[in-house]
C-alpha cells in the first residue's frame, strides 16, 4: 500500500510535479482495437509514470472507457503492446491475473456484489487471491472503509446504501488489494449531484497520497485541480495531451478547442 505519510506532499495544483525520473507504470505502444469494422482505439501510445495522475477526457464514444478497460484486460487489444508495471499483457493467464491483482478498478455502475455484506465485498479478494486469514483481511477491510469514511456501514448489504456510499465501498474494495495503480471509469456519472463531491474528495485524497491514477471523467473541476496530465481523445486517438494549464488555457488543436467550447 502506498503510505499516505511517506508520500511526498504534492503542491497545491499538482501541475508542476516533476515526474520525469519516476518509474514507468503503464506503457502503451501503438495500441489498437476494433469492434468489427469500427476502430475503437487507433494507435494509442503513451507512458504513465509512477504517482502520476492522468485524466482522460473526450466526447462519448471516443474510446476512453475501452482504453482504460484494456489496461486490466477486461477488453483485449488486438495490436500494439500494453506493459503494466513491467508485466506485458498477453494471452498468458498468469500475467493477466498478476496485473489484475495490482491494478484496482472502480466502475460507473459500482458493481458491488449484492449478496455479500459490505465488509465481505471488501475482504473477498484479499482472502481468496492474497490468501489472507479472515480476521486479518476483515481488519484491513475495516481500515479501508474508514479511509473512505463509512466504517459504520460495514455490516449492511450494498442494497441498503446510497449511491455515493456504494461507490465509496467500491473504492475501498479496490484499495483492499493494495494496488499500485487505480483506474476510475466515469465513477461519478451514475451518482446524484449531491453525492458526486464525497466520491471526488476521496479520489483527491488518494491522488495526494501518491497513488498512480488513471481517471476517465467528465468532472472538469477535478481534472483542473488534481491532474498531472490531461489526455484528450477523439475517435480512438489521442488528440492532445498536456498539463491542465496548457489544456484549459491554450490548447493547440482545433478539436480540443471545439470540445472545450461545448462543455465550458
Amino acid at each position: 500500500m502506498t503510505d499516505a505519510a511517506a508520500a511526498e506532499p504534492a503542491d497545491d495544483q499538482g501541475q508542476t510535479r516533476d515526474l520525469s525520473n519516476a518509474r514507468d507504470m503503464i506503457v502503451c505502444e501503438e495500441v489498437s482495437k476494433w469492434y468489427g469494422d469500427f476502430r475503437a482505439l487507433d494507435k494509442i501510445s503513451t507512458t504513465i509514470k509512477e504517482q502520476e495522475v492522468v485524466v482522460v477526457l473526450g466526447p462519448s464514444g471516443s474510446g476512453k472507457s475501452t482504453w482504460i478497460r484494456c489496461i486490466n484486460r477486461l477488453e483485449i487489444h488486438q495490436e500494439g503492446r500494453i506493459v503494466v508495471d513491467d508485466v506485458e499483457l498477453t494471452n498468458d493467464l498468469r500475467n493477466i491475473e498478476q496485473v489484475r491483482s495490482e491494478v484496482g478498478m472502480v466502475f460507473q455502475q459500482f458493481n458491488l456484489f449484492p449478496h455479500l455484506k459490505v465488509i465481505d465485498n471488501v475482504s473477498l479478494a484479499p482472502i481468496w487471491v492474497r490468501k489472507k486469514p479472515r480476521a486479518e483481511a476483515e481488519e484491513q477491510a475495516m481500515a479501508q472503509l474508514e479511509r473512505v469514511g463509512i466504517p459504520e456501514q460495514a455490516h449492511k448489504y450494498p442494497g441498503q446504501l446510497s449511491g455515493g456510499q456504494q461507490q465509496r465501498v467500491a473504492i475501498a474494495r479496490a484499495l483492499a488489494m493494495e494496488p499500485k495503480i487505480m483506474l476510475f471509469d466515469e465513477v461519478t456519472s451514475a451518482l446524484d449531484p449531491e453525492m458526486v463531491k464525497e466520491v471526488l474528495d476521496i479520489m483527491k485524497t488518494l491522488a495526494l497520497s501518491g497513488m498512480t491514477m488513471m481517471v476517465v471523467t467528465h468532472e472538469m473541476g477535478f481534472a483542473k485541480e488534481v491532474a498531472d496530465r490531461i489526455i484528450f481523445m477523439e475517435e480512438g486517438q489521442i488528440v492532445e495531451q498536456g498539463t491542465p494549464t496548457h489544456f484549459f488555457e491554450n490548447p493547440t488543436e482545433d478539436r480540443t478547442k471545439l470540445f472545450l467550447s461545448q462543455i465550458l
Binding site: R100, L124, P133, R134, G159, A176
Partner: protein
C-alpha cells in the same frame, strides 16, 4: 398523529351501509359462509346421488384382501388394498426422487453446455434442449419403452457379465446392497459421528479464519462421518440397549388414556394460535408501540382464533384421531424395539448378486438383484431427459441474468475464473434459478403418473386396478389427489424455504 382522530370521527358520522370498514367485514363473513355452505351442499348432494344410484363409497377396500400382482415394488403380492396402494406410492416416490436428482445433475450440465465457449458443446446442448422439450413426454416414454423391448430376451445364460450384470427385455439387473438387521444400531453410531463432525468442522473453520490456511472444513466433516460409519460396522451392537427404551415408551403409550393426546393436541393448537396472534401483533407494532391493524389483519386474527377453536372442538367430539395417534405411536415404538433387539452379530448392510429363475416356461429375474424394469427405465429416462431440458434452460437463464459488471468487477480485483463463478456469479444465479426449477420438480412428480402408459406400477396404475376390482372409484381418486397434493406441497415448502433464505437484502 391525526390519523386516529379522523378514524374515530369517520365512525361517528358515516351510516353503516356506506362505512367501508363495515362493508369489508360483511363481505368477508358473507364470502366465508358462501364457501362453507357450497362445500357442504356439494358434499351432501354427491353423497345423496351416489346413494340413489346404489354406489356406496367407503374406504373398506383398504382393509380387504385384493387380488393383484405387481411387476415390481416393495410387495409384489399385496394382501390388502391399502398395501397395494402403498406399494404404488413408494414406486411413485422412488421414481420421483431419483428423477429429481438426476434431472438436476443433467440439467446443470446441459445449461452449462449451452454457455460453453466450445462451439460443438454449445450446439449439442441446444439440440438436446430443443428436441426434448418439443416432443410430448408421453411420446418419449413410449419411444424409450419400445426401444428397450427390442433388447434380447432374458435367458439363464444372458448378461454382459453373467451373474453380476444383466441386460435384457426384462430390464437391467445388478447386485443389490440393502440394509440388514444391524442397520438401525449402525445408524446410531453415524448419528454420534454427525455430532462429532459438527464440532470438527467448526474447529477446522476456526483454524482457517485465524491463520488463512485452507483447511477444507467441510471435507473434514464428511471424513469424520465416514470414519464413524466405518467403525460403526464393527461396534454397532453397543446400541442394543436402546431397544429397551423404545419398548418402555411403547408400553407407556399403551397405558395412556385417550384424554391425554386430546389435551396435548388441544393445548398445542391453542398455543400455536396464541403465539401466532401475539407475534402478529408485535410485528405490526411500530417502534414507539403504536399498533395499526387493517381490517384484513383483524380478519386474520379472528380466523386464526376460530381455526384453533374448531380443531379443539373436533378433537373433543371425535376421538378417532387421538386413539389412532396413540395406537400407531405404540406400534411404531414396538417396531423400533424389534429393530434394536437383534443378534449382536447382525450386519448393518448386506449385498446379493442378481439371479435368474425359471419357474415355468419363461425365465425371469429373481428377487435377489437390483432390477430396473424397462417400465421403470422408460418413465425414468422420460422424466429425466424431458425435465433436464427445462432445468438446463433455467440454469442458462439464471447465469445470463447476473449482470456482466459483476464478473468484470470480480475479475478486476484479481479473482480467477473458478473463483468468480463460485463466489460471485453462482450465488446470485442460484437465486434466479431456484424458483422455476422448483416448478419443474413439481412437474416431474406429476408427470410420473404417465407411467400408466408403459406399465410401470406407480400409484395411478395400481389405483386403476384397485377400483376396477372393487368399484371404489371416488375413494381411490381421492387418495390419488391427496397423495399428489401433499407431495407437491412438501416440495413447494422446501423450495420456498430456500427462496426466503436466499433473498437479497434490499433497502
Amino acid at each position: 398523529m391525526t390519523a386516529p382522530t379522523t378514524h374515530e370521527r369517520a365512525h361517528q358520522r358515516v351510516p353503516l351501509w356506506r362505512d367501508v370498514i363495515v362493508l369489508k367485514w360483511v363481505a368477508q363473513v358473507f364470502l366465508l359462509v358462501v364457501v362453507l355452505s357450497t362445500m357442504f351442499f356439494l358434499a351432501t348432494q354427491a353423497g345423496d346421488n351416489l346413494r340413489a344410484r346404489n354406489i356406496v363409497s367407503t374406504f373398506d377396500f383398504l382393509e380387504r384382501p385384493i387380488d393383484i400382482q405387481l411387476s415390481e415394488g416393495i410387495d409384489t403380492h399385496p394382501d390388502t388394498g391399502a398395501r397395494a396402494l402403498w406399494t404404488g406410492m413408494v414406486n411413485t416416490l422412488r421414481i420421483s426422487v431419483a428423477g429429481i436428482f438426476f434431472a438436476t445433475l443433467l440439467g446443470i450440465v446441459v445449461g452449462l453446455a449451452r454457455l460453453s465457449d466450445n462451439w460443438l458443446v454449445r450446439r449439442l446442448g441446444s439440440m438436446w434442449v430443443e428436441t426434448l422439450r418439443n416432443i410430448p413426454l408421453l411420446v418419449q416414454m413410449i419411444f424409450y419403452f419400445s426401444v428397450l423391448t427390442t433388447l434380447p430376451r432374458v435367458g439363464l445364460g444372458t448378461g454382459p457379465i453373467n451373474g453380476w450384470f444383466h441386460i435384457s427385455n426384462k430390464g437391467i439387473s445388478m447386485p443389490r446392497v440393502f440394509i440388514a438387521d444391524g442397520f438401525y444400531q449402525w445408524l446410531m453410531v453415524v448419528g454420534v459421528g454427525a455430532v462429532a463432525a459438527h464440532y470438527v468442522r467448526r474447529h477446522r473453520q476456526r483454524i482457517q479464519d485465524e491463520t488463512g490456511a485452507m483447511t477444507s472444513p467441510i471435507l473434514w466433516g464428511i471424513g469424520t462421518v465416514a470414519l464413524f460409519g466405518l467403525i460403526g460396522i464393527f461396534v454397532h451392537p453397543m446400541f442394543t440397549w436402546m431397544g429397551g427404551i423404545f419398548g418402555a415408551i411403547a408400553d407407556l403409550l399403551d397405558s395412556l388414556p385417550i384424554i391425554a393426546p386430546q389435551i396435548l393436541f388441544s393445548v398445542v393448537a391453542l398455543g400455536v394460535a396464541a403465539r401466532w396472534i401475539s407475534r402478529f401483533l408485535t410485528d405490526h407494532r411500530s417502534v414507539r408501540g403504536h399498533l395499526s391493524l387493517s381490517d384484513d389483519d383483524w380478519f386474520r386474527i379472528a380466523f386464526a382464533a376460530l381455526a384453533s377453536l374448531i380443531i379443539v372442538f373436533v378433537l373433543v367430539r371425535w376421538t378417532g384421531f387421538s386413539s389412532w395417534t396413540l395406537n400407531s405411536g405404540r406400534d411404531l415404538f414396538h417396531v423400533l424395539e424389534d429393530k434394536f433387539n437383534v443378534d449382536g452379530a447382525a450386519r448393518p448392510f448386506d449385498a446379493m448378486r442378481p439371479d435368474i429363475i425359471q419357474k415355468s416356461r419363461f425365465p425371469n429375474y429373481g428377487k435377489n438383484g437390483l432390477t430396473m424394469s424397462i417400465g421403470f427405465a422408460a418413465v425414468f429416462f422420460g422424466v429425466v431427459f424431458y425435465t433436464s431440458a427445462f432445468i438446463g434452460e433455467n440454469v442458462r437463464g439464471g447465469i445470463l441474468a447476473v449482470p456482466k459488471g459483476q464478473s468484470e468487477a470480480a475479475m478486476a480485483v484479481g479473482l480467477g475464473r473458478g473463483q468468480v463463478l463460485r463466489h460471485v456469479v453462482l450465488p446470485q444465479a442460484i437465486r434466479i434459478i431456484l424458483p422455476p426449477t422448483g416448478n419443474q420438480y413439481l412437474n416431474l412428480l406429476k408427470n410420473t403418473s404417465l407411467a400408466v402408459a408403459v406399465g410401470y406400477s406407480d400409484l395411478v396404475q395400481i389405483g386403476q386396478t384397485t377400483y376396477n376390482q372393487t368399484g371404489m372409484t371416488l375413494p381411490v381418486v381421492a387418495i390419488w389427489m391427496l397423495f399428489y397434493l401433499s407431495c407437491s406441497l412438501s416440495i413447494s415448502v422446501v423450495v420456498n424455504w430456500f427462496n426466503v433464505r436466499m433473498k437479497l437484502v434490499e433497502r
